[in-house]
């Protein structure tokens, strides 16, 4: 930003102060971000978000098409469908329907802004979880046997 004239730099400094005063980062959000550190996992393998139908689905998208989010870690993949209630129904909680592919039987913990809920995947790796409040979520998957647990990247639902 060196090529700015002094008057412009001064104006930008003024603007910085104004924005800090009129649109500060809300204190509760900073506290929540700090508290989020407790979700840190040390022993788990990270499953990266590799696809999200809302971003990949180009322009042609049916209005009520289900949203599919895919994560992978090595040979294991995890697909979840996020079902949101219809708009203006007064209800906001989401339902998750998922499947873990390429893994032994597992327990799935859905971690979200207000806590977490744990469900058991069936023999085919399928699971359902509800209600899940809107906001960031991440799934922690613990397997029967010795395989390392897996956590997914966080994503907003």
């Amino acid at each position: 930003m060196a090529e700015l004239e002094p008057a412009d730099q001064e104006l930008l400094m003024l603007l910085r102060g104004v924005l800090e005063e009129t649109d500060p980062v809300p204190g509760p959000l900073i506290e929540a971000a700090k508290a989020g550190f407790t979700w840190r996992t040390v022993d788990a393998e990270l499953a990266e978000l590799i696809a999200d139908s809302v971003l990949d689905g180009a322009a042609v998208r049916a209005t009520n098409a289900p949203r599919l989010v895919t994560f992978t870690a090595g040979a294991i993949s995890l697909v979840i469908e996020i079902v949101a209630p219809p708009a203006r129904a007064g209800e906001v909680a989401r339902r998750l329907i998922g499947q873990i592919v390429g893994a032994p039987p597992a327990e799935v913990e859905v971690r979200h802004a207000d806590g977490s809920l744990t469900v058991q995947a069936d023999d085919y790796g399928r699971f359902r979880a509800a209600p899940v409040p809107p906001g960031p979520i991440s799934l922690a998957v613990r397997f029967a046997g010795r395989r390392r647990p897996l956590v997914t990247s966080w994503v907003t639902v």
């Binding site: 003024l14 910085r16 924005l19 009129t22 959000l29 700090k34 971003l55 966080w154 994503v155 907003t156």
Partner: protein, 220 residues
């Protein structure tokens, strides 16, 4: 100086093995404080946070919160959605601390991650969510500019800047938010955070500043 550095290295090595002085455990941050490094570098913070140091994490959040907020507020999101994007961005960093040791990349990583989450949330169109108590504060829904609090700015000059900024296009507001956000972003990082070509940032910034000054003058 050399001796001090050696002591620091020794202290670093000793960390994690319950370093003790006079029988008291010395936390990592105190060790640095004692060495006269009051403001730890981002790379120290990243390393300590990756090692599980909550205090280092808190400092990272404080240092970069404005930047992440500037990105989310520049994307025409409802207030609750901005709040969710902000939260998701930090949670994602928690999981990626181990992979992100280079402090040079942190600002870019945070702003790019925040932008992607903004786009996701915009596409989901989840406006059905009531804007309840998410931020517990002022709630300028539908406007990304300063809210009515601008009127509270006692200083007339600052009030003038706030009013002029509110009249700018959304694109200009988004860009200027990032230009003034601390810690500063490179053109490449701003380009990633806003999804505009790097070559157009300089000219756009110039145009936005001109508009801002015009609006200020109109006000007299």
């Amino acid at each position: 100086m050399r001796r001090r550095r050696c002591a620091a290295v020794a202290a670093k090595r000793a960390r994690g093995r319950a370093p003790a002085t006079d029988g008291f455990a010395v936390p990592a941050w105190f060790d640095r404080y004692r060495r006269g490094v009051a403001d730890p570098s981002t790379s120290d913070l990243l390393r300590d946070a990756a090692g599980g140091d909550q205090r280092a994490w808190d400092q990272l959040v404080e240092r970069y919160a404005r930047l992440v907020w500037a990105v989310t507020r520049g994307h025409r999101l409802a207030y609750a959605d901005s709040a969710d994007v902000f939260q998701t961005t930090w949670l994602r960093l928690v999981e990626h601390l181990g992979q992100l040791r280079d402090p040079e990349h942190l600002a870019g990583w945070l702003s790019t991650t925040a932008r992607h989450e903004c786009l996701r949330v915009l596409r989901i169109g989840r406006r059905e969510r009531p804007d309840e108590d998410v931020a517990g504060g002022a709630d300028p829904v539908g406007s990304t500019g300063p809210g009515p609090e601008a009127a509270l700015l006692v200083d007339e000059e600052r009030a003038g800047v706030a009013a002029a900024f509110a009249r700018l296009s959304e694109r200009c507001q988004a860009l200027l938010r990032l230009v003034v956000a601390e810690p500063g972003l490179s053109y490449t990082e701003i380009s990633l955070a806003l999804g505009i070509p790097v070559g157009s940032i300089g000219p756009t910034r110039g145009r936005c500043l001109r508009h801002l000054k015009d609006f200020l003058e109109e006000r007299g």
